[in-house]
Symmetry: D2
């Protein structure tokens, strides 16, 4: 069973990163080491040309990975991203943005995962992210 | 001489990415292939614990690289980020966020650069980014 | 049907990169945009401590991605890697090294894919790679 | 003063990674957190078309970063690469390969650095690498 609920994760998302709070994030599924989040479409996501801006996708991916880590270790405030690598694959047309994160590794000190980003209704991935989180030693948690 | 001015870049920043517009970005220096931007400190940058959130740094870096590309090729709307890799180095304490971007390569199809992120008044880099931009072929510009 | 055979890919591997030739690479499966390669274990892969060295994994991943690109576009000598990002997940114990590459995107100019690296007989991924290839314009192929 | 000499690093390079041993690496300069290495040109570095193969550059960069870490913490066998990101910038023509590594951060648990790769006699960087090392806790060193 995951160590944290979707409701708790949504709350953390709003509190934790005001810029993410503005994304109106919903956490749709929480498994152990796997999380699916959604940002309902908002005009503010768009850049001229009518595609969803890169920083929106990056913010989504960062939070989805954080949520996937917490789904396994529970609420640990001090877990921090150390690396994030994103490949933008296709122009993301207007629509809800969906981030599907899953852990590739959960060690004592580092968690590594990947995130696929999609626009609702389209199977083709618009961006792919790998990311590393540093997990604080137990005495600091 | 750079092919675009600081004022034009600030305008693009506000128009282009609403989420970046909210950062209140200023473009402080524009050289050929090198740009320095600043986001004056705002409470909304903070996450609990009082450090500046990752998505703010990523959005800053993405725009600084875009500005560095435009400083050489002029205003080309269709240039798009294809890859961005960020290493978070130190906890960024509250303060203005500064992004210094410079190009490592400007080819016909791809531009690659690096961005150092700093908090005003502190010499230690808080995050380091490398990023790739795809430049559209001339007939599409 | 893939546009190139396993035999052709093995030959390219040996010719193309002498350092890869030394890996004794075999191409086990070639689908359209998906390739599985194997490097039979060799004492030279090991670093002190008895784990397989990072450069061996990186060389494997680079070739597997190249092979996945060629499986779709056919033999195009000038396709070149522009970016490779590797996360080392677990210590790779001695054994055959297996690389499973699949494309995430094949555009006109860029191909992006991911590669999972495994040690034969163990389901846990030892390293994960994402990589980008630049595809030359038709007149240069 | 660096905590390790160029001679010790060369020996480690040969022992540690046979594939690196074959590169005939020399360590030319060792500062505290900064190292310059050279691989004298060898026909085996080339791929068809006459450019130096990517895996050679990646192996060079990985070792140069490792050497930069050891220059500060001394000989710690268990330091391991956790992430390496490389951008290939220009076709590397035949010549000695030079890797210049410097640390961006040395924390208790993670070291992050960047490496510029050059061909001797040419000022233009042929590839740029950022890399992260995990440093084992003191009781394991």
């Amino acid at each position: 069973m995951p160590k944290i609920t979707a409701e708790e994760l949504e709350l953390i998302g709003r509190e934790r990163v005001p810029i993410v709070g503005r994304l109106g994030l919903r956490v749709e599924e929480v498994g152990k080491g796997a999380v699916r989040t959604r940002a309902p479409f908002d005009e503010h996501f768009l850049r001229p040309g009518g595609t969803i801006s890169g920083p929106v996708l990056m913010a989504m991916a960062d939070f989805a990975m954080y949520a996937a880590v917490l789904s396994v270790i529970g609420r640990v405030e001090l877990a921090v991203t150390t690396n994030l690598n994103i490949n933008f694959l296709r122009r993301p047309h207007p629509g809800d943005v969906i981030a599907e994160a899953k852990l590739l590794k959960l060690g004592k000190r580092l968690a590594v995962g990947e995130v696929g980003l999609f626009i609702d209704g389209d199977d083709e991935m618009v961006a792919h992210v790998t990311s590393t989180y540093s997990i604080p030693p137990p005495q600091h948690q």
